[in-house]
């Protein structure tokens, strides 16, 4: 029961990497491959994380407004942090960093694009 009250996903390293990548430009929409590249994670790891974040209401997603025939490719699914999600993500990341520091461990730098 106590677990059910927990807001937000468990802050595993991959989740943190995804959130850091999306907080780099909070208003920016990104699609799955793009998020994976920015976070430095393989493609199989990304979709469960995105589903979890979307399920918590931290992310919202939509289909691209594009005509596949004009673009020469199928439409993409874009993700973006919600306003509430961005705020919660910042707090959760700060707490995760504090927790690591309290353990006396040095956190590894986040991956992704420069």
């Amino acid at each position: 029961m106590a677990r059910m009250k927990q807001a937000g996903p468990k802050m595993t390293i991959p989740v943190q990497l995804v959130l850091r990548a999306m907080l780099a430009e909070p208003a920016q929409e990104m699609y799955g491959l793009q998020i994976g590249q920015a976070a430095g994670l393989p493609s199989g790891t990304i979709h469960p994380i995105l589903a979890r974040l979307e399920g918590c209401g931290w992310l919202e997603s939509r289909w691209e407004d594009a005509v596949p025939q004009e673009e020469g490719r199928p439409r993409r699914r874009y993700y973006r942090l919600t306003e509430d999600g961005a705020e919660r993500a910042r707090i959760a990341l700060a707490r995760a960093t504090v927790s690591v520091a309290a353990l006396g461990l040095r956190p590894r730098p986040a991956g992704g694009l420069a």
Partner: protein
Amino acid sequence: MKTVVVTGGRIVLVSDTRTRAITGGYLTLSRIITDAAAIAHNPAHPVRGRDGAGFFEIASMLAAAHTGASTLASRMPLYPDRDLGVARDLVRTLSRARMLALELPVSFGTAPGAAAETSRQALDLVAVLETAWNRSSILMHDIGLLQEYAPIPGRRSGARQSTAGSARRLLRVAARLLPDGDRARYAEEFGSELADIALAGGARLSQLAYAARQLRSAPRLRADLKSPRRRSAAP
């Protein structure tokens, strides 16, 4: 038709179809930037934001952005190693212009004529710059995909424009493992990503690796989608 380019010190083949899609995207982007510049060049009232920058400064930035977009629109072939830098600069410039536009003072309600018109122009400018910035970011990522999925020289596969049947089959299996209400969405989403890899020149092995990773993580995705803590998300 394929084009031979040199990237990262090696000779690779890049699909002309994919390059044309990207350069065509930059041509469209240059037109959007022109629309934004038309607003920035003709303010009803020369207002300034908190840091002193106004329509004039935004117009100057858009001139530089237009040069960048036009340059990339005329590239054939694209050289990812060189052109990714130009694309990044363009994203940064448009991001900065958008931030300045967001700082422009906006009046609502009973503002007099010129102030109301300026407010409308500021809001229009923000909307156009939002579109331009999003597009530039997507196109930059597309160039990055060219670099990442360029085929290995010496291999027969070369650049591909179609998705591998075996990869598509694996993705169909992955989607079938998901809850009923989510299958169609993820089938389309996985297919879209596979197409991106193929269009960027990803060989059959790259596509199969992608599909295999989705299949391996499908049970975990299923569990997350069925989680009782999950709010309903739009399909």
